[in-house]
Subunit: 117 residues, 2 copies
C-alpha cells in the first residue's frame, strides 16, 4: 500500500519576473494548497541572491515545495499528498499555469518501499 | 542541463518510537544537512495526531523533507540538492540508518523539463 502520491512538476519557459517574485510564488503555493482543501501548517519562502525563490509549505502529512531559476525560466515543484489525487493533479496544473509555464514535465510516484512507482 | 539532483528515499521496518519522535527526527534531518556542508535556512517539524512526524528543512536552492508513519514502520524522505551528489547520497544513506530502517528504496532523478530522469 502506497504511503502517498508524489507529483513532480518541472516547468520551463516561465517569465523571469514571475519566478523571481517571492510574494507571487508564495501566493501561488498557498492557492494550490487551498484548492486541494488542505491546511497550511507552516511556510518558508526564501528569495535567493542574485535571483530565484525557494519555498516549502507543510501540509498535514504532505508538503509542497518549489525552487525557481528565473535566469533559465525554470522551476521544480514537488507535491506530496495523502489526500485526493484528482484535486492534487488539478492543483499542480493550475500552479504551472500561474507560473506562466510554456512547457511542463509532470511525473507521478506512489511512495513507499512496497509501493509501485 | 539538470536543475538539481532529487533523491527519493523510502524506508520500511523502522521502530515506531524512532519514527514518532519529533525531536529525534529533527536532529536526524539537521545532521544530514550539516554532513553535506549545507546551511539550514528554515525548518518546520510537526508531530501529527495520533502519531507520525512531518518535517521540512529549507536549504539554499535545496530542501530535505520527511513524513513518517510509525504504525507502519515507514517513512518517505526527499532530498533536493544543487550541491555535491556524492555527499548527498552519503547523507541519505546515513539518514536511513539513523531512522533504523530495515529496508530502503532509493531513487535518483535529475530535475528539469530537459533533464534526463
Amino acid at each position: 500500500m502506497s504511503l502517498g502520491l508524489h507529483i513532480l512538476l518541472d516547468v520551463a519557459g516561465a517569465p523571469f519576473a514571475t519566478l523571481d517574485d517571492a510574494v507571487l510564488v508564495e501566493r501561488v503555493l498557498v492557492d494550490a494548497v487551498r484548492s486541494m482543501g488542505a491546511k497550511v501548517l507552516g511556510i518558508h519562502i526564501h528569495r535567493l541572491s542574485p535571483q530565484g525563490v525557494s519555498g516549502v509549505v507543510v501540509i498535514s502529512e504532505s508538503h509542497l515545495t518549489i525552487h525557481t531559476w528565473p535566469e533559465r525560466g525554470e522551476a521544480a515543484v514537488d507535491l506530496f499528498t495523502c489526500g485526493d489525487a484528482g484535486r492534487a493533479r488539478t492543483a499542480v496544473r493550475a500552479l504551472a499555469t500561474a507560473l506562466g509555464a510554456e512547457r511542463t514535465r509532470i511525473e507521478e510516484k506512489q511512495r513507499g518501499v512496497d509501493g509501485s512507482r
